[in-house]
């Protein structure tokens, strides 16, 4: 059927434009009601609208696919989670935390080498999952919320097992640019672990800590010498429980001297089976980026 067929009847011709708009889904109000009533009663126009609808829907096919950002599938699965919780509910923090754990498991695998490159591991390897984290032998995970101005904008997880690593994810905020991660240990020592990038407040980053680093008491995200957010690991914080003791934004906080270097990490003597690594085996990502091995600390 062609447009000429449609115009062949005076009654049908009156609805030619309306039918095209119906097919595109942009018809509104009384115009829509009148056109629909006609289409329902007229087999010719009904067939016309079906064909035009198919033509309109074919437009969907010309839009090229684009690989979504790293962690897309993990985040989606968490949103689908057991509670079927709607987004932006209180449950979201839990979801975000579980996502960070799942990503953290990838960070751990990256840190452990696993015999493959990080890029492959993230993109084409087994998808990070709760179980991959949960079955880490002998490990202990502590998680605390990253607090800024009294609200949680992400999480930090410190995992202690065969190796010790820290992983943080931020999914709220407004900062873009380079940020650094600093931890204060239980003994009072402060270490600048490295830097990573935030994209509109969104980013995730992890680092393997040197053996014997000690218990992390506070992890902070800094930019320009100021603390953007901080997470306290209060004594008693346990695995799978969000610590959440708040330390609010501290403008003017004096950052430590940048002389502290990235912690030497995961050489073959400290991580079983891994090959020797760069000064710090750091896996970092932003919402758009890929995991990479980089450390820009001094």
């Amino acid at each position: 059927m062609s447009g000429d067929d449609l115009r062949s009847g005076p009654e049908c011709g009156r609805y030619a434009e309306e039918i095209a708009e119906l097919a595109l889904g942009i018809s509104t109000g009384r115009q829509r009601a009148r056109a629909l009533a006609h289409v329902e009663a007229c087999p010719r126009c009904h067939a016309e609208m079906e064909q035009l609808s198919l033509a309109a829907d074919s437009l969907l096919e010309v839009v090229p696919g684009i690989e979504p950002p790293l962690g897309f599938e993990v985040r989606l699965m968490e949103r689908l989670g057991p509670g079927r919780a709607p987004r932006h509910s209180v449950h979201r923090r839990w979801i975000a935390w579980r996502s960070s754990l799942a990503l953290a498991s990838v960070a751990m695998l990256v840190a452990l080498g696993a015999g493959v490159g990080a890029g492959w591991l993230v993109r084409g390897g087994p998808q990070p999952s709760r179980s991959s984290f949960g079955t880490a032998p002998g490990g202990r995970a502590e998680t605390a919320s990253l607090m800024a101005a009294g609200r949680s904008i992400g999480n930090v997880t410190v995992y202690s097992g065969r190796s010790t690593w820290l992983f943080m994810s931020l999914d709220d905020g407004s900062w873009s640019g380079e940020a650094s991660c600093e931890v204060r240990l239980a003994g009072g020592r402060t270490i600048l672990l490295g830097t990573f990038w935030l994209d509109n407040g969104y980013g995730a980053w992890g680092v393997t800590l040197a053996p014997g680093t000690g218990r992390v008491r506070t992890a902070s995200v800094l930019s320009g010498g100021s603390v953007l957010a901080s997470a306290d690991f209060a004594p008693g914080t346990t695995a799978y429980v969000s610590g959440a003791a708040a330390r609010v934004d501290l403008p003017g906080h004096q950052a430590p001297a940048r002389g502290s270097s990235c912690q030497p990490v995961s050489s073959s003597s400290t991580v079983s089976g891994s090959s020797r690594r760069t000064p710090a085996s750091i896996a970092s990502t932003t919402s758009r980026g890929n995991w990479s091995s980089s450390c820009s600390s001094s």
Binding site: G3, E17, A20, S58, L59, L60, V62, E73, L76
Partner: protein, 193 residues
């Protein structure tokens, strides 16, 4: 224009949806992996915000998953169903969140420039894809733009008239002429194969 995929997982879209409807998580994962690129690509093509596009893409796939039991194959292909969910969500986002849309010309060019057929599109005839591109290229620039504004941005003829600063009648004519020509060219392409 109907397409049934028997892609890498070896199962058709309809089979995966049936599995999802029965709570098979593996089917759901296969479905997500099959469509996440296309859904995200569509959303990102419409809004100039990767984070928002991801949010939309995830919501679209979640809705497809949750509503798998009510998918009706008689009403359209699975790909159309999923992508339409994503399109509608993106239109809602553009309206409700006042998100910044992609420039319609950029969007048109995105579609026209893309001749790629992804591995998951293996069952989709590349002839059909090329025919679709030829059909779109056969439209005048004004017709393509009107169709994009209508279909992807959800703009009514009156809104297109205002945005394009053209009479309402001209907007309606561009919409109808563009869509019927697209249909006719595709029909002609199909009959030649």
């Amino acid at each position: 224009m109907r397409r049934t995929r028997e892609a890498s997982s070896g199962l058709s879209d309809e089979s995966l949806l049936a599995g999802m409807a029965h709570g098979d998580e593996r089917a759901g994962l296969a479905f997500v992996r099959r469509y996440q690129g296309r859904v995200f690509g569509l959303a990102l093509g419409m809004v100039a915000d990767a984070a928002l596009a991801e949010d939309i893409a995830q919501e679209a796939l979640l809705r497809a998953w949750r509503h798998a039991p009510v998918y009706d194959s008689r009403r359209g292909a699975v790909s159309t169903w999923v992508l339409t969910i994503a399109r509608n969500l993106t239109i809602d986002a553009l309206r409700m969140r006042r998100a910044v849309p992609t420039d319609p010309d950029d969007f048109v060019n995105l579609g026209l420039a893309s001749n790629e057929v992804s591995p998951d599109d293996a069952a989709v005839s590349s002839d059909a894809a090329r025919g679709l591109h030829r059909a779109l290229a056969s439209l005048s620039a004004e017709q393509r733009r009107a169709l994009v504004l209508a279909y992807f941005y959800g703009m009514t003829a009156a809104e297109i008239s205002e945005a394009e600063q053209i009479p309402l009648g001209t907007a309606k004519t561009r919409i109808r002429a563009g869509l019927t020509k697209l249909r006719d060219t595709m029909t002609s392409e199909g009959s030649q194969r």
